[in-house]
Amino acid sequence: MKRIRWIFVCAATVITAFTLTVGIRPILALRPAESPAGGAAVKIDNFSFGPADVKIPAGTTVTWTNNDDVPHVVASDDKLFKSKALDTDDHFSFTFTKPGTYMYYCSIHPKMTAKVVVQ
């Protein structure tokens, strides 16, 4: 009985965590380990996005992680999404629901440009 209750508590915790992290978008401070299965990751290193060209199916969540010692802001050219200032190790996620090519840049270091292609 104790064992069943323990499983129930675990399951409830997992469901709550899932609802909290996936239910609201865009999500800040999402850890890579918590990224929904099949999500794509973009690293920010040395003032550049890598990979700079991401191809994903519609419905995929992309998570950016800032590895630099300076803050960066992930912003789409068409203002569809914009992160808060991401300090070192901060994350930003956005789920792309419609096919298309999404150009984005760092709004405070605009030389940093990249794109997400949603198929």
Binding site: F47, D68, A85, Y105, I108, P110, T113
Partner: protein, 323 residues
């Protein structure tokens, strides 16, 4: 020093020797004088700096201080205590023989535009024995609320996103904002409304009026590959062409650079927080780590002496490290 000196791998014209010279300048301070648009520079020995400064001060009508890039809130390896180094900068200003008329802060007061960071900066800068402090924002100061917090704290009474001008003892000072509404793929940007304002602001001035422009990102193409330039600066400088003496003071790149173009003298100041690499000498312009004992020799303040009539503007860049 050997930790961060690199060879000229990027073929950008900055070799090891040039970089060493640059670092020597940053470490010892340099005196810049301008006579009729011709800039003369003279690297200063640490011990001689104060003496020469004094000699220059004798003929000066007034002086002011430029400080830049305090980055309060930054706590990484390149400088774990940026509040302490800002405090040292304030102490240096206060211990100078001559009291400056005012202080210019050319942006990046904070690291992340946090209220607590602005609070700390204001608290430390309150201790400066100078008249007013005039600010322009850096990109780190406008990260939240479209820069509203910066305007409320440091930009009261300014136009647009924080630009303004004022007159001081015959010279016209213009503070410009080139860190907002930046376009993808571009550099710093002034924008059309600010340019219109600038054209109008200088319209009534006599061509003999000395002009001092200050803004965060350099208003000349220092190194566009790293975003060190401003897309529409040419247009702004076009409005200032008829003036006999134009001095442009910038921050952002955390190192001393200077250039003369006609009657325009460009100068960038050291940071009070951490140094950044010389153009092309590192994979990115991120904070440069130097041995702890050397940090204060690559941080500093700029003391600007103004001599009316001679069109002479002398800038002494002093490191925080004391001889």
């Amino acid at each position: 020093m050997a930790d961060f000196i690199r060879d000229n791998i990027n073929k950008d014209g900055i070799d090891r020797r040039g970089f060493l010279q640059c670092m020597a300048w940053a470490g010892t301070g340099a005196l810049y004088t301008m006579h009729g648009g011709i800039l003369k520079s003279l690297p200063l020995m640490q011990g001689a700096a104060s003496g020469m400064n004094m000699a220059k001060m004798k003929g000066a009508d007034f002086s002011f201080i430029q400080i830049s890039d305090s980055h309060i809130g930054f706590s990484k390896e390149a400088n774990p205590d940026v509040t302490a180094t800002l405090q040292i900068a304030v102490d240096r200003i206060n211990s100078a023989a001559a009291r400056p008329d005012f202080l210019l802060h050319t942006g990046d007061i904070s690291q992340l535009s946090k209220p607590s960071e602005f609070d700390t900066a204001e608290q430390v800068l309150k201790g400066v024995k100078a008249g007013n402090i005039f600010y322009v924002p850096g990109e780190h100061d406008v990260l939240t609320d479209d820069g509203q917090q910066y305007l409320d704290r440091f930009g009261r009474g300014t136009k647009g996103k924080g630009w303004y001008s004022f007159d001081h003892k015959g010279a016209h000072f213009i503070g410009l904002v080139n860190v907002v509404d930046l376009k993808a793929g571009g550099l710093g940007s002034l924008g059309s409304s600010q340019l219109e304002w600038l054209a109008d602001d200088v319209k009534q001035l006599k061509s003999s009026t000395p002009i001092v422009v200050f803004a965060h990102i350099p208003l000349w193409a220092v190194y566009p590959e790293w975003g060190w330039g401003t897309d529409d600066s040419e247009q702004a400088l076009g409005y200032l062409k008829r003036f006999g003496s134009v001095s442009v003071l910038n921050g952002h790149i955390h190192q001393i650079m200077q250039k003369v173009e006609g009657n325009v003298t460009f100068h960038t100041a050291l940071s009070t927080a951490f140094p950044q690499p010389a153009p092309g000498t590192a994979p990115s312009p991120g904070p440069m780590k130097v041995p702890a004992g050397q940090l204060r020799s690559v941080l500093g303040i700029s003391h600007v002496n103004f001599v009316q009539g001679q069109h002479s503007l002398a800038i002494v860049d002093s490191p925080l490290a004391q001889s």
